[in-house]
Assembly symmetry: C2
Homo-oligomer: 114 residues x 2
């Protein structure tokens, strides 16, 4: 029996969003810790608009929330969102991506930006 039964249409949309390597990795990363856009740009070695567009899609569904701190906007998984119980077991089963943040710290890029 379902723990939290949810519409199959919504489940499909969410799984499709998570079925992209950049977004899935990003969600795992910001499930632990808020990151700003420029950090994500550096981590994923892609363009800033590309990252913004991924975040936009996640935000449109309410999966992530933003938190402006000065000129930076920090994104993190919205654990209060009603779909969080659905995605949590998925995120829990994929390996931690914290090492990506560690790499930034070692390069000094993390501090310089945020």
């Amino acid at each position: 029996m379902p723990q939290t039964s949810m519409e199959i249409e919504k489940a499909t949309i969410i799984l499709k969003l998570l079925g992209d390597k950049t977004r899935l990795t990003m969600m795992k990363l910001i499930d632990d810790e808020a990151c700003c856009v420029c950090e994500l740009v550096e981590i994923f070695q892609t363009s800033q608009p590309s990252i913004s567009q991924h975040l936009r899609k996640l935000k449109d569904l309410g999966l992530v929330k933003e938190d402006r701190r000065g000129q930076w906007i920090f994104y993190s998984v919205d654990k209060c969102n009603k779909y969080y119980p659905f995605i949590k077991p998925i995120l829990d089963q994929i390996p931690s991506q914290e090492y990506k943040l560690k790499e930034l710290e070692e390069k000094g890029t993390r501090i310089s930006c945020c």
Copy 2:
């Protein structure tokens, strides 16, 4: 901490596969009960090649198994597959699709075919 840590690449591929309404519904359906291709064609009101192609993708990853019974091939979720623990919590959270099989039975299409 991850229960069953799995490669993020594999997780992405699986989630992308599940991020399609037909495939997700199908997986939920055949998680409970094996169905033959012609039943799935009728349930999803689409062409037979379309269903076969969806099943092919699921089978390529080992998510489903086939079982020939005479002229029919029955498909069901392969619960022994190493990725099953990953998809199980997802399937558990979406509503049962058994009513679709009930509809077939009421129409008499289920018996006539299989």
